[in-house]
């Protein structure tokens, strides 16, 4: 950047901030009130009163409502369920993030494609399916959130392939509502919130599934036996 540009930038910053300050001449300057007291948050942390089991049920219902395919299984059955999904899809290749629990793949013969920094996008585009864990799932909205941890991988691996398998450990990773999810998430990580497969409302404001992201989203809700008893 040459010197003229730098001068220009500094002066634009001061110009914008100066305009904003003059525009707010009617507003009393900072009175030291902490931000938390400035906004009335009378809304609820979650909607309704559900047991843990009911919250997991709601997650399953809302995921399915937006056309995700939902499976439920005990942790011990997970490898077989994963192998079944891969076989049903006819997937020959499976993208795998580096920190994924290798047991999950112990029953499938699909060729593993590791998530590497130097993979080309064309290579990723040729992969049939991707499997990841998640950071948190939100029942009220039917949302799974990925945060780029080692068992979820780079953002692009869940974007370019056409088929995404996401494993949610229930009930530990499930929250009821959006406010609880934000509390669990780390904003310094790159986050992707996914609610059903790619969709659009751009043709006559009617929802159609399947544009650029994975057109098939399969979510496995896996639990340790015995599933927490609502009693």
């Amino acid at each position: 950047m040459n010197r003229v540009d730098r001068v220009d930038r500094v002066s634009s910053r001061e110009r914008v901030l100066g305009r904003v300050r003059r525009a707010l001449a009617d507003v009393p300057r900072d009175d030291g009130t902490p931000y938390e007291g400035a906004v009335a948050r009378a809304y609820v942390a979650e909607h309704g009163d559900r047991s843990v089991e009911q919250t997991v049920d709601l997650l399953a219902v809302n995921l399915a409502d937006y056309r995700a395919i939902v499976h439920r299984c005990a942790a011990a059955d997970l490898p077989a369920v994963v192998a079944g999904m891969v076989a049903a899809r006819g997937a020959k290749t499976l993208l795998v993030p580096s920190g994924l629990d290798p047991d999950w793949l112990s029953a499938t013969n699909a060729e593993r494609v590791p998530d590497r920094a130097d993979s080309s996008l064309t290579e990723l585009d040729r992969v049939d399916s991707v499997i990841t864990a998640c950071a948190v799932a939100i029942a009220e909205t039917g949302t799974i959130v990925l945060d780029g941890s080692l068992d979820q991988g780079r953002r692009r691996i869940t974007l370019v392939p056409d088929h995404h398998i996401c494993v949610v450990r229930v009930p530990d990773q499930v929250v009821s509502a959006v406010p609880q999810a934000l509390e669990r998430l780390d904003p310094t990580r790159p986050l992707t919130w996914i609610s059903g497969p790619s969709a659009t409302s751009d043709i006559e404001l009617d929802r159609v599934e399947g544009v650029h992201g994975p057109r098939s989203l399969e979510v496995v809700l896996t639990f340790n036996n015995p599933f927490p008893n609502p009693l």
Partner: protein
């Protein structure tokens, strides 16, 4: 100075709203498309909102968060700049659209690339970025399905969320068939008008562009001051493609898009999807804070855009328009928008929010901007559905007053006094006459009596300059006796009326 503000070259020379709306109202295909689309989404939005028992509280919190931020905007801008910089981003400031366009063009040229992929962004539409990039030899590909339809059809956007809302599936198929080949991969043979096939055609057409793109350009729905996080809310996955696949990401964002804290997102991530697409949650939301080693773009530039926002902020009544989160619920419920369509508003911001935003961002110097505060019946449906409770009718009336009476406003950061607009002479004469009569009871009574006695002779429509007014309205019938006379004669109705 007022000419320095870019308003998107596609809208230059727009006629005033009534003239533009007149053409739209006489287009039966357009009216059918708009009616179908707005009625579809209207009922769904109501259902999605009804699912949340605390909608009113969320709406109030959203309003308060935005108001607080706007009232301390200088502080939060500085905080955001520091957070983004700490996280590895570079922050640029642009006082107007031309400056933002120059910054983006320079950043793209520094990468050596001659094409960019774009996420749908109102801010870049507003400043005419695509045209500015084209002028320096950079081709910008729109990747949102509706933006693609608009770009391929050499058309203008007509809705905030669904810029091609004025097109039905048959028209979209025709555009894809005839235009896709000139931009890249042609439409598949035998493409029908089934929405799933049209979406598939867009997927195939754009995929090669995503996979080779080195520069992505976006806007943002929210910027979090405390963490430096940017948020893009979308449906199709084109946003994720542009935000994560390229090596360089440039985001152009209006200065009003800030929220103070991470926690504040809990309000808007509940109200925005339900208000805009009537979904519990939109399919994809991306959040990024600066750059991440080994994941996504290596360089991130944030261009903070003023372009009339600080001028809008200076208006104590009008500044509430800056709370807008661009959900477009107000367009979908508006009876005027449903009939006139988005193009008549002469701006990338159509509908009720556009009618208060465009004249404030651009001033009321042009015919279309001066007419926009009148593009409303003041029914208030827009205010009812607004998730941040912008009192659009209040601002419309305020702006009408400013157009008719003139007065002090801020343009390009300087205080100026607007002269009363031309063309409202008859209105001003009538209002002055009314003030004179209402402040003189004797004259008012004499006038009312004359009017009552001659009422059978009154015409059905007004002559001269009043004809336009009475062409669409009935003149109120004059009663045989004024209320004041009746009250005095009967002593307030004692002993029975009449």
């Amino acid at each position: 100075m007022s000419g320095s503000r870019t308003s998107g070259s596609t809208f230059v020379g727009m006629p005033a709203f009534p003239e533009a709306a007149h053409n739209a109202v006489n287009n039966p295909t357009l009216r059918g498309n708009l009616r179908h689309a707005t009625h579809t989404i209207r009922a769904k939005r109501a259902d999605a909102v009804a699912e949340l028992s605390d909608w009113a509280e969320l709406r109030e919190a959203g309003k308060q968060i935005k108001d607080h931020t706007l009232r301390h905007l200088d502080r939060y801008l500085v905080e955001l700049e520091a957070s983004v910089t700490t996280a590895g981003g570079t922050v640029h400031w642009a006082a107007d659209g031309d400056e933002a366009n120059r910054i983006v063009a320079r950043l793209v040229q520094e990468t050596g690339e001659s094409e960019v992929v774009k996420v749908k962004s109102m801010a870049t539409q507003e400043i005419g970025l695509n045209e500015a990039l084209e002028a320096v030899g950079v081709r910008a590909y729109e990747t949102d399905l509706a933006e693609l339809i608009v770009q391929l059809g050499k058309d203008r956007p007509s809705h905030i969320l669904v810029p091609a809302i004025h097109r039905n599936r048959g028209e979209i198929r025709d555009i894809f068939r005839s235009e896709m080949g000139a931009w890249g991969r042609p439409a598949p043979e035998g493409l029908t008008d089934a929405p799933t096939e049209l979406a598939e055609a867009a997927r195939l057409h754009l995929r090669e562009k995503f996979l080779r793109a080195k520069v992505g350009i976006s806007g943002a729905n929210f910027m979090v001051a405390e963490t430096g996080t940017l948020v893009v809310v979308e449906s199709e996955g084109n946003g994720r493609m542009c935000l994560t696949l390229p090596e360089t990401l440039i985001s152009v964002v209006g200065i009003e898009k800030i929220v103070p804290t991470w926690r504040d997102l809990e309000v808007f991530l509940q109200t925005l999807p339900r208000s805009s697409t009537a979904e519990r949650m939109n399919p994809y939301t991306s959040m990024w804070t600066g750059t991440t080693d080994g994941d996504g773009p290596r360089a991130f530039h944030l261009v903070l855009l003023d372009n009339g926002r600080s001028d809008t902020l200076a208006d104590e009544v009008g500044r509430q328009a800056l709370r807008c989160i661009r959900c477009s619920a107000c367009l979908n419920v508006c009876p005027v928008y449903e009939r006139a369509g988005g193009h008549a508003y002469g701006s990338v911001y159509p509908g009720p929010i556009g009618a208060i935003l465009s004249p404030q961002l651009r001033g009321t110097g042009s015919a279309v901007d001066a007419s926009l505060p009148y593009a409303s019946s003041l029914c208030g449906a827009c205010y009812d559905v607004c998730p941040v409770a912008i009192d659009i009718p209040e601002v419309l009336v305020h702006l009408r007053e400013r157009v008719v009476q003139g007065g002090p406003v801020t343009r390009d950061g300087s205080k100026v006094v607007l002269r009363p607009a031309k063309g409202h002479g008859a209105e001003r004469v009538a209002m002055r006459a009314a003030r004179w009569a209402f402040s003189r009871p004797g004259a008012l009574r004499a006038g009312q009596r004359v009017a009552s006695r001659t009422r059978r002779l009154h015409p059905r429509s007004l002559p001269g300059p009043g004809r336009a007014w009475s062409a669409t309205r009935d003149l109120p019938p004059v009663p045989a006796e004024s209320f004041r006379d009746w009250w005095q004669r009967t002593k307030g109705g004692e002993g029975g009326a009449q």
